[in-house]
Amino acid sequence: MKKVQDSSIAGERSVTGEFEILNQYGIHARPAALFVKTASKFSCEILVEKEDTIVSGKSIMGLLTLEGSKGSTLKITARGTDAEEALEALRTLMENKFYED
């Protein structure tokens, strides 16, 4: 759940974190919508990666195609001025199991 990397390329903040999916049914429609809702509050670019597949964290369809089940890991990268806040908000969401169960 940790392993956070910080880097800034050409002055642009970029943070990455790996998070395990904790909620029982994984990333189905409701958690995906919550994820997108949270991600869309920030102006930074958010990418979500699972097993070599990368999608935008602001796309519901994208997150659904990851087929993230409980126990699998999502690697989230945020790039932009509010990258850290965005990653923090998404971490909170995932650690709280998308407020389900």
């Binding site: 597949t53 935008s56 796309s59 369809m61 994208g62």
Partner: protein
């Protein structure tokens, strides 16, 4: 490319009526070459140039030939074939596998499959399946449509209106291939094909509505499973420093899996009917395919006239 026997089996099980005869626990073996091989010559004892990296198909001829051999020869040849580390064996016409095959399959950990199909039909179907599985693929963020036979990928930042534009195009009778996430693969002829991810196929997400099932609302004609990528259209809010092509004389291209695809930037503005613009972009592309380039033709006419209507 790592196509495993399992992947091949899953993809072709229905269409080719495949069944596992033996070695179901060795399905993770990879098939290094996508073509198929009939090991007739190998079974006859000639192993030079034996295409051992391919799926081996035992058809009627191979089976009948094996029958004609003495048990000792048969065991010997089959063993030799398995010793070459073949990925898997498929027996056609639902013939029963010789016990030698079952023994070797256990010893060399090679799965054996069977199909009721005749060999030539099986090979045709399996070649297409292997080609699909082995071709390089990637995902692109964008909504893919078939507009009058032209495959158009609509790109743009989240919230720019890709899905809404697609929805308007579907209402006009065009068909959707994939919403938001498009799977791209390049086939062996160098053509780029686009399709949807299985799990979300036929669905769209529209802000304010949520997830909709497109064929239930618009009918089956509104969906298409796969389409060649002919044009990429990027919807973008105009910035101060971006140059939009006002003449169409300098068409942009984008490399997608090393294939050059025409690329158009379209500025989004309130009140602008994006569906209409994208539709015309596709039709204009179709016209170019037919050999007509309106911008170029008009410019040539102009240059001709301005230079005194002389030579050319």
């Amino acid at each position: 490319m790592g196509v495993t026997v399992q992947k091949f089996y899953e993809a072709a099980q229905k269409t080719l009526s495949l069944e596992v005869v033996s070695g179901g626990e060795h399905m993770e073996r990879t098939i290094p070459e996508q073509a198929l091989n009939r090991p007739g010559l190998a079974l006859a004892g000639f192993f030079q140039y034996f295409a051992h990296r391919r799926i081996q198909v035992i058809g009627l001829a191979e089976n009948t030939y094996l029958k004609s051999l003495s048990e000792k020869d048969r065991t010997d040849r089959v063993r030799k074939m398995f010793e070459k580390h073949i990925p898997c064996v498929v027996i056609t016409r639902n013939r029963t596998a010789y016990p030698e095959f079952i023994d070797m399959c256990t010893e060399f950990r090679v799965p054996i499959l069977k199909t009721p199909m005749i060999t030539s039909h099986f090979i045709n179907g399996a070649t297409i399946t292997m080609e699909r599985l082995a071709s390089p693929r990637m995902r692109m963020q964008g909504t893919m449509l078939d507009i009058q036979g032209i495959g158009v990928l609509i790109e743009g930042e989240p919230g720019i209106g890709k899905s809404e534009t697609a929805l308007a195009l579907i209402e006009r009778g065009h068909s959707l291939v994939a919403d938001d996430i498009t799977v791209i693969r390049r086939d062996y002829t160098g053509v780029v094909m686009a399709s949807a991810v299985d799990i979300t196929r036929y669905h769209m997400e529209i802000r304010g509505l949520g997830i909709i099932h497109v064929p239930s609302i618009f009918g089956v004609a509104s969906m298409r499973d796969e389409k060649r990528l002919d044009l990429i259209v990027r919807l973008q809010r105009p910035g101060p420093d971006w140059d939009v092509d006002r003449t169409g004389l300098a068409p942009k291209m984008r490399d997608v899996m090393d294939v050059r695809i025409p690329y158009i930037l379209i500025p989004v503005a309130p009140g602008r009917d994006m569906a209409n613009v994208v539709e015309v972009a596709a039709l204009n592309q179709k016209l170019k395919h037919l050999g007509h380039d309106a911008a170029k033709e008009l410019d040539e006419k102009l240059v001709h006239k301005l230079s005194g209507g002389g030579l050319e």
